[in-house]
Symmetry: C2
Subunit: 108 residues, 2 copies
């Protein structure tokens, strides 16, 4: 997984998932890694970025709203979300966005 | 700073800033905290979420593209970005997005 996703020219879509974590860590990192692997096989997936320190932020990038909906319906993804709500998250928020513009730099 | 921003009903705007950090830590955390404080005073600011672990993700939320542009032009913000490019980041990417939908949960 690249630290910074290599996304195409906008417009495309982003799902910003922010979670306030509980102290429960059993199974969490394993599930998070499994989801990051699984999502990369999903049609329409463009990239993912993840950072975590008490607050966890995972941003995934998509070609369309249809691809996002289809990923939200994925069985294994739904199981992971359910465990998140019951064990790993005090609170979480998902925001569906259209990326309109992007820019950046990288060191040579 | 709340872990999960308390944003209004969409639509509104998000700026996703993702950075691949260098090993240089001098001055970084201090500047990051100063920027998180400063941004909260900026007109049109709605909220911010931050997580970091090698990769740093900072998402700020805004009422309009005009407010985002005005924050990007802020003198102290520009100084911080310049230090980021020269010292703290191997690479970084900024994505400007329109938030179209959001949902979530929090434990009672």
């Amino acid at each position: 997984m690249r630290k910074i996703a290599n996304t195409p020219e906008p417009p495309y879509y982003a799902v910003i998932f922010t979670a306030d974590r509980t102290d429960v860590s059993a199974g969490y990192e394993e599930m998070a890694r499994a989801m990051v692997e699984l999502v990369q096989e999903h049609p329409g997936f463009l990239g993912v970025e993840r950072a975590e320190a008490g607050t966890g932020i995972l941003v995934s990038y998509w070609d369309s709203l249809e691809s996002i909906r289809s990923w939200q319906m994925n069985d294994r993804h739904q199981v992971a979300r359910q465990r998140g709500v019951s064990e790993w998250y005090n609170a979480c928020r998902t925001r569906i966005c259209k990326v309109e513009r992007e820019y950046g730099f990288h060191r040579d």
